[in-house]
Amino acid sequence: MKILVCISKAPDTTAKIAFTDGDTKFDEGGVQFIVNPYDEWYALVRGLELKEANGGTVTVLNVGGADSDPIIRKALAIGADDAVRIDAETIDALYVAKQIANYAKEQGYDMILAGKETIDYNGSQVAGMIAELMDAPYVSLASKLDMNGNTATIEREIEGGVEVIEVNTPFVLSAAKGMSEARIPNMRGIMAARSKPLTVVPASEASTSTAIKGFTLPPAKSGCKFVDTAEELVELLHNEAKAI
C-alpha cells in the first residue's frame, strides 16, 4: 500500500498572531512552527497504522521552502518512511493543490491523506482540489478509515450525522477527529529521521486564483459585565442582550 500524507506548516496554537508589511503578511518573528495538527494527529498517524497492518510505505509531502524542513523531520520522526518537499511558495490553495497533483499523478499512490483544514487559513480546500485535479473520489472530514484489500470503508461527517461509505483505491481523504490517537516521536524515531530521504522537487508551472489584500485583528471585547445571580443573568440575556 503506497500512502501519501500531505502536511502543512502551521504556527503553534499559542503563537501570537500579528502582521507586518502594512498588515499584509503574517509576522513569523518569534513564532514556533508545528505540523498542522489535523495532518499530524489524524492523517499521518492513521496512514502509519494502515502501513503497520497491511505493509507498504508512507511518504509525507509538503509544499514550501527550506523553512519547512524541521516539520518534515518531525513527521519522519513520528514514522513516515520518506519525504518530498515541493519547493514552491504557498500562494493559494488551488496553486498548492496543483503542485501536489502534478507531482502525485506520476507516482501511483493508493491513497492521499490530508488533515481536514489548516489552523492558519482554515480553508478546508486543498485535498478536495487534489481529488478533482486527479479525477479521484474525495472523502471529506473522515473520522474512520479501514482497509480491506483495495476497498476502504470510511465514516465521514455529513450535516446532522455520519455516513458510512465504501470506495476503492485510489482516493483522496481529509482526516478529522476520531481517526487515530496522536503519537509522540521517541528518541529512536528522532535519530532515524535524520537519515531518512527528503527529496526536494522543483515547483511546476501553475496559475494562481486568489491574493491576500490584508489582515485585521478582531475588536477587543468591551469588557465583561459581572453579575451575582442566575436570575439576574437570565434577565439581562433576555432584556439587554436579547439573546434568549
Binding site: 471529506s140 482516493f171 486564483s209 489584500k213 459585565k225 442582550a241
Partner: protein, 315 residues
C-alpha cells in the same frame, strides 16, 4: 452574468444552511443588479420558498440517486448549471457539504475559492476569519468565476418576499467510485454549527454524570451542547461536541461556557459568538476576558437556578 447558489437538502427539505447561502447569494445578486439562481439535487420539496431570499429561479435535478450525498456528482451538476446560466459567482454554505463540493468545483472550473466568508464581498474581495478566529483576512479572487462559501450565522437575513420559479434541470450524472453503505442521522440533536444558542461545559463539571443539567439547560433554550477538548478526549462527551481550534469552530448568537478555563485554543473556535456568557469558580479564569457576561461561582449551584429562571421567563 448571474449568481448561482447551491442549496443543500436533507430528508427531502432544504437545510437551514441552504437558506443562509440563498440569503447571501440573493443579497449579492441584488447589489450587482443580476439574478440569483439556486440549484438543488435529489428529492426535495418546498423549493419555491427560496424566493423569500431573493432567488428568482431554482434549477432542480430531482434524480433520487442523488439523495445519497456524493460531492463528485454535485460538483459536476453545479458546473453544468454554471455553464448553462453563465454564472460568474457561485455560492455555497461553508458546512460539511460545502467543504466537500466547493474545492472540487474550484479545481474543475479553475475558479478562485474563498471558504468561510463572514460578509458580502467588497468588489472581488471577501472577508473571512483566519488563524481559527484570531484574525480576519481580506482575500481577493482574481479569476473570472468566483466561488464563495459563507460561514453559517454570519449574515443577517433579508426577507424579500416572493416565490421562486422551480424548473427541472436535466444533466447527465456521472458514475463515481463512492458507494454509500449507511447513513446514521442524529435526527434529535441540533447540529452545532447551525445552532443559535450553544451550551458548553468543560473539565470543571468533574464527570460525565453531571451533564444532565447542561442538557436540560440546552433543552430549555433550544440550544445545542458542546464541550472543551479534554472532555471529549477522556470520553465524557462525544468527539463531535469538541469545539475550539482543533475541534469545530462555531459562531452562535449566544455561547454559554461553564467550567471551561478559556485556553487560547478553546477561545479560537468560539470567539466569533455574538454574546458570550462565562460561569467559572475562578475569577482569574482567562475566559472572562473574552466574555460579555460572567458569573464567578459554582456551576452546580448556578445552572439549576438558570434553568428555573428560564422556565419562569417562558411561563
Amino acid at each position: 452574468m448571474s449568481v448561482l447558489i447551491y442549496t443543500d437538502s436533507s430528508n427531502g427539505a432544504l437545510t437551514k444552511n441552504a437558506f443562509e447561502a440563498a440569503n447571501y447569494g440573493g443579497q449579492l445578486a441584488k447589489a450587482a443588479g443580476t439574478d440569483a439562481i439556486a440549484v438543488v439535487v435529489g428529492s426535495a420539496s418546498g423549493l419555491e420558498d427560496l424566493g423569500n431570499y431573493g432567488i428568482s429561479k431554482v434549477m432542480h435535478v430531482s434524480d433520487a440517486s442523488l439523495d445519497n450525498f456524493d460531492p463528485q456528482k454535485i460538483a459536476h451538476i453545479v458546473a453544468a448549471a454554471a455553464n448553462e446560466t453563465g454564472a460568474d459567482t457561485i455560492v455555497f454554505a461553508h458546512d460539511y457539504t460545502g467543504k466537500s463540493v466547493a474545492p472540487r468545483l474550484s479545481a474543475k472550473l479553475d475558479a478562485g475559492l474563498v471558504t468561510g466568508a463572514i460578509a458580502l464581498p467588497n468588489g472581488n474581495v471577501v472577508k473571512k476569519a483566519v488563524f481559527s478566529g484570531k484574525a480576519f483576512a481580506e482575500i481577493e479572487i482574481t479569476t473570472a468565476i468566483k466561488i464563495i462559501s459563507v460561514l453559517p450565522n454570519s449574515l443577517d437575513k433579508v426577507e424579500t418576499g416572493g416565490s421562486a420559479e422551480v424548473v427541472a434541470f436535466s444533466v447527465e450524472i456521472p458514475t463515481t467510485g463512492i458507494t454509500v453503505k449507511e447513513i446514521k442521522k442524529e435526527s434529535t440533536e441540533l447540529s452545532l454549527t447551525e445552532a443559535d444558542v450553544v451550551v458548553s461545559a468543560g473539565r470543571g463539571l468533574k464527570g460525565p454524570e453531571n451533564w444532565g443539567m447542561i442538557e436540560e439547560l440546552a433543552k430549555e433554550l433550544g440550544a445545542a451542547t458542546a464541550c472543551s477538548r479534554p472532555v471529549a478526549d477522556i470520553g465524557w462527551r462525544p468527539h463531535h461536541e469538541h469545539v475550539g481550534q482543533t475541534g469545530i469552530a462555531i459562531r452562535p448568537n449566544l455561547y454559554i461556557a461553564t467550567g471551561i478555563s478559556g485556553a487560547i485554543q478553546h477561545l479560537a473556535g468560539v470567539n466569533g459568538s455574538k454574546v458570550i456568557v462565562v460561569i467559572n469558580t475562578d475569577s482569574e479564569a482567562p475566559f472572562f476576558k473574552a466574555a460579555d457576561y460572567g458569573i464567578v461561582g459554582d456551576a452546580f449551584e448556578i445552572i439549576p437556578k438558570m434553568i428555573e429562571a428560564i422556565k419562569k421567563l417562558k411561563a
